[in-house]
């Protein structure tokens, strides 16, 4: 079973994503900000990260920048999820290390499809 870390300061969003992903057969952990996410990831590497942008302490960009420098875990794909969908934000996200930039609300089946694709689980 593959592990996914959901990083979001909003509990609802975390739950929303958790429900979807668990229903799709993934094991899910949560972090409420970038710092906590880094700590968790260093203890237990995840296969995929779903990252919110606006978070206290360390936001999504900051998290991704740090994360991409950490040995052993840095190569995992990351999906950035946000409500703002400006083109500039996307580029910022990509530059920080995101592999995909999705705009909320994401339809459950869409999210599952993206996750499966990134994890190579579609075949």
């Amino acid at each position: 079973m593959k592990h996914i870390l959901i990083i979001d300061d909003a509990a609802t969003v975390r739950l929303y994503h958790r429900n979807i992903l668990e229903a799709a057969g993934y094991s899910v952990d949560e972090a409420i900000n970038g710092i906590e996410a880094l700590e968790k990831a260093l203890v237990k590497p995840y296969d995929l990260y779903i990252v919110d942008v606006n978070m206290p302490k360390l936001d999504g960009y900051g998290f991704l920048k740090e994360f991409r420098l950490q040995e052993n875990i840095k190569q995992a794909p990351a999906i950035m999820v946000t409500t703002e969908a400006g083109a500039n934000d996307r580029t910022l996200g990509y530059a920080a290390g995101a592999n995909l930039y999705l705009t909320k609300p994401i339809k459950p089946n869409e999210l599952v499809a993206y996750v499966r694709l990134l994890l190579g689980d579609l075949s």
Partner: protein, 895 residues
């Protein structure tokens, strides 16, 4: 006529011919699928071509033909002789319009009624089920509302817009704008017709939202045809109808346009999690609504929104209610319906509701313009369902976007991109896995995304980029023109082979024909001007007595003469056109006429590459058609007659062009029944064209030549004769207008040969200058057989007419002074000899007595204009090198 149009016409004729050929083949093989497919392709391409121009009637008929052939191809309609007849008729109609375009450069007459009729009868052959499928641009929903219209909500396009855009559009419509849903489905073959769907799509004005989807149904990469458009463009636009009509005027049938009512945008989206919204909340909201306490309602809704996840369907409904309160505060029904939807979890059915239109009540924010373009690069398709394929595209293209970003690249980022791509590739049978790993290693060493990017680009290119055919068609157009000039036999050739030819062609420069004509005129004047130099040399020597200078002028003249002649040759080369220009129409024409007459004819075209001046070639066109028609009509016999006469059952018609020194010789030879001179003689006598004496002694050859006599041909003569003779005098005068001659040889029962001899160019005329009654005149050299001096003693009077015997032949003599009505006798020379110009008039030799011969010169013959233009006996005037005017005689008219 512009070259594109010319190209279109010439190609279209090929297509028309191929179409009729294929139809004939189908007649004997009615179930051949390849034939039908090919036939469809011809009609289809022809239609597409016609769409490039503004010939709506033509396109309309071709479109109907295309639909019909499509139905035949797919087995929905059975091939029948009636169908073939109708199609042929339609193609003839198209051909007729093309003739008009050829002549006039555009369609002048109004064919819309005929076109409609032809198209209707074609469509009549399609069964009713197909008739429904005929795409038409429809407009539904007027300002009056929705319910009154015949077309239901169900027929509105499925709009899956992001909420923010939907809201912006909703506001737009409420603000009084008209929003059209526009779907543009380019024809699959559009790339081959010079259409540029991307360009068109980009041109759509006032786009609020657009989308590109694929119609790709190929299940594997190998099956996908990247030369066909598989795209559907969708737009939401506020552009006025006229603008859209104008933009898509050439592809109106590829456009589907629907006016969207505001409520169609009100479509909450989000996830339905079975989490029903608290019933109490809904009730209290409804109460507030009933009390018309909109402020209170807004507060309640906002609170509720804060409590719900934003991506829920119910949250979306809440936002829509707020939007509605803001834009249409009075539309209680809508607000109620939305709130009620929170209970039912079903989007309200707006079909029964008319929005209240309250324009300008609320200040409208600028519309969020956003392009949602689904990636169009045809990445490896893999049997993934459509939605997944889209997601696949998004992810792959995003990685490309990421890899193209500038800046420093950490190993982690490179690895994550590679990991993402690997995830994608794993979905499609692990392709590119090894390559990606290798590229990643390289990228990590170089600390650069380029190796990964290069691989990704290559992977995408692997399936070819969509707009390749565009450049290809441009190349092939260029190549085609040249190919037309040179090729032996212009048939509709495969595009590929043309490309090869096009690539190796030297560069072609397109020049306005007028400029060439102007250049031609100038060089003509130059040729004449240089003729002044010998005069000058002469004057230098005789008048001023400077022999040295005279010699220098003469040597300089030799140089200028050589350069001028070379220039003249070169410019004439530019104007040269191959005979194939007029020959190419004969196959279809001969086929049609012979079919109509029930004759079997084999047409042989020879020397299509023989070139002549453009004017000459064009002037030849009509006379040739005339002659060929005559040959088919009156020359070649019916099959059984031929067999009975012991001839080959299939008649043979040869049209041959050859170049003989500075003239082009065109021969039209048939092996038909020839012309019976006796019949001609008698007819000519009956018509009073010859007198009894002539009837007695006229040779057979001379008798045959009588067909050229003016007034010989009338309809009755033709039918009586069942030989040829239709308007041959017309042919002759047309040929003579360009200084050509025409002759005929015929052996009764064996066949006929008609030959036209034409100058290569008519810009510069070579004339002989003669002197008579103290004036000088020019006589075109191509009429002059020889010049002789006839001693007075040799001039005999026969039947009160002057004649002489020249090499055993009696030659009538005419005095130029007499012909010009000067009451002066011609002057003989010291030896009492008359200078006599022997000219050939209509095949007969005639001697013209003049006072003296002078030199021959090249002149530019200018036809006389105004009142002088009506002067018979002169072909025109020209300026001589010394500045004097030379009147050029036209002996044909004179005698």
């Amino acid at each position: 006529m512009n070259s594109l149009l010319e190209q279109f016409l010439s190609e279209a004729r090929d297509f028309l011919q191929s179409i009729s050929e294929k139809l004939m083949q189908l007649e004997s093989n009615p179930n051949s699928v390849p034939l039908m497919t090919e036939l469809f392709r011809f009609v289809h391409t022809l239609k597409g071509n016609s769409g490039l121009f503004d010939f709506p009637e033509m396109t309309r008929v071709l479109h109907a033909s295309e639909d019909l052939m499509d139905a035949v191809r797919n087995g929905r309609v059975n091939y029948s002789n009636t169908l073939a007849d109708q199609l042929l008729e339609a193609m003839d109609f198209v051909g007729m319009m093309m003739d008009e375009i050829q002549v006039e450069g555009k369609i002048i007459k109004n064919y819309s009624a005929t076109a409609a009729e032809v198209a209707k009868s074609l469509r009549g052959l399609l069964d009713s089920a197909d008739a429904v499928n005929v795409p038409v641009a429809i407009e539904i929903y007027t300002e009056e509302g929705l319910a009154a219209k015949a077309i239901s909500w169900a027929e509105l396009p499925e709009l899956n817009l992001p909420e923010s855009i939907a809201m912006a559009l909703y506001r737009c419509v409420m603000d009084g704008d008209t929003v059209f849903w526009l779907q543009y489905t380019p024809e699959p073959e559009c790339f081959f017709k010079g259409e540029d769907p991307f360009f068109l799509a980009r041109q759509v004005p006032d786009t609020l939202w657009r989308n590109v989807i694929s119609t790709n149904d190929a299940s594997s990469l190998a099956e996908m045809d990247v030369y066909r458009s598989q795209l559907i463009f969708q737009f939401l636009t506020t552009a006025p109808t006229e603008e859209l009509d104008d933009l898509f005027r050439y592809v109106p049938d590829q456009i589907h346009r629907i006016k969207i009512p505001a409520l169609a945008f009100v479509k909450p989206n989000g996830s339905v999690n079975n989490q029903t919204v608290d019933d109490e909340f809904i009730s209290s909201a409804l109460v507030l609504l009933e009390e018309n306490n909109l402020a209170g309602l807004t507060r309640t809704l906002l609170t509720m929104l804060e409590l719900s996840a934003p991506d829920l369907w119910s949250s979306s409904v809440l936002r829509w209610v707020l939007q509605c309160i803001e834009v249409e505060p009075d539309n209680e029904r809508m607000q109620y319906a939305l709130l009620n939807a929170l209970r039912t979890q079903i989007t309200p059915d707006w079909s029964s509701m008319t929005p209240t239109i309250k324009p300008h009540e609320v200040a409208i924010e600028p519309v969020a313009v956003r392009s949602v373009i689904t990636p169009t690069i045809p990445v490896i398709s893999s049997g993934l369902p459509d939605e997944l394929l889209q997601i696949f595209h998004t992810v792959v293209n995003t990685q490309r976007e990421i890899l193209s970003l500038p800046g420093k690249w950490s190993a982690g980022r490179l690895q994550s991109v590679a990991a993402t791509l690997l995830g994608c590739y794993r979905t499609i049978n692990h392709v590119y896995e090894i390559e990606t790993e290798a590229a990643l290693q390289l990228a990590l060493t170089e600390k650069s995304p380029l190796p990964l990017l290069a691989l990704l680009e290559a992977a995408l290119l692997d399936v070819a980029v969509v707009n390749t055919p565009e450049s290809e068609i441009i190349e092939s157009l260029g190549g085609r023109e040249n190919a037309n000039r040179g090729s032996e036999d212009v048939v509709s050739v495969g595009r590929r082979s043309e490309d090869a030819a096009g690539a190796s062609q030297s560069k072609t420069l397109k020049v306005d024909q007028e400029k060439i004509d102007r250049l031609m005129n100038l060089i003509g004047e130059m040729v004449v001007a240089k003729n002044a130099l010998p005069y000058l040399a002469n004057r230098a020597e005789t008048v001023f007595g400077v022999r040295e200078l005279a010699r220098e002028i003469k040597s300089q003249y030799a140089v200028i003469n050589r350069v001028a002649e070379e220039m003249q040759d070169t410019i004439m080369q530019v104007r040269m056109m191959p005979m194939s220009f007029i020959f190419q129409r004969f196959p279809r024409m001969v086929r049609d006429i012979s079919r109509k007459l029930g004759k079997e004819v084999e047409l042989v075209l020879e020397g299509e590459n023989t070139e002549a001046d453009k004017n000459i070639v064009e002037a030849l066109s009509d006379p040739l058609i005339h002659i060929v028609r005559n040959s088919l009509d009156h020359g070649l016999e019916l099959q059984d007659v031929r067999v009975a006469a012991g001839k080959n059952a299939v008649g043979k018609l040869i049209i041959r062009a050859t170049q003989e020194s500075d003239r082009v010789l065109i021969e039209i030879i048939d092996d038909g029944n020839g012309i019976d001179p006796t019949v001609i003689k008698n007819k000519a006598y009956e018509k009073g064209l010859i007198d009894e004496a002539t009837l007695e002694r006229i040779s057979d050859q001379d008798a045959v030549n009588l067909v050229f006599a003016a007034g010989f041909s009338t309809a009755s003569v033709v039918s009586d004769l069942s030989g040829r003779g239709v308007g041959m005098d017309v042919v002759r005068s047309a040929v003579e207008r360009v200084n050509g001659t025409v002759g005929i040889e015929s052996i009764a029962g064996k066949g006929t040969r008609i030959y036209l001899s034409l100058p290569l160019s008519m810009a510069v005329t070579n004339v002989m200058i003669i002197q008579s009654n103290e004036q000088i005149f020019g006589v075109p050299m191509d009429l002059v057989v020889e010049t002789v001096r006839v001693p007075r003693s040799q001039v005999r009077m026969i039947k009160r007419k002057q004649t002489t015997v020249l090499r055993g032949r009696i030659v009538p003599l005419l005095s130029l002074n007499d012909l010009l009505a000067n009451d002066v006798a011609q002057l003989p020379n010291e030896d009492d000899e008359f200078a006599t110009l022997i000219v050939r008039i209509h095949g007969e030799h005639v001697g013209i007595l003049v006072d003296n011969f002078r030199e021959t010169v090249d002149i530019i013959l200018k036809p006389m204009t105004g009142i002088l233009g009506g002067l018979p006996g002169y072909s025109g005037a020209a300026l001589l090198g010394d500045g004097s005017v030379l009147m050029v005689l036209n002996p044909r008219e004179l005698i």
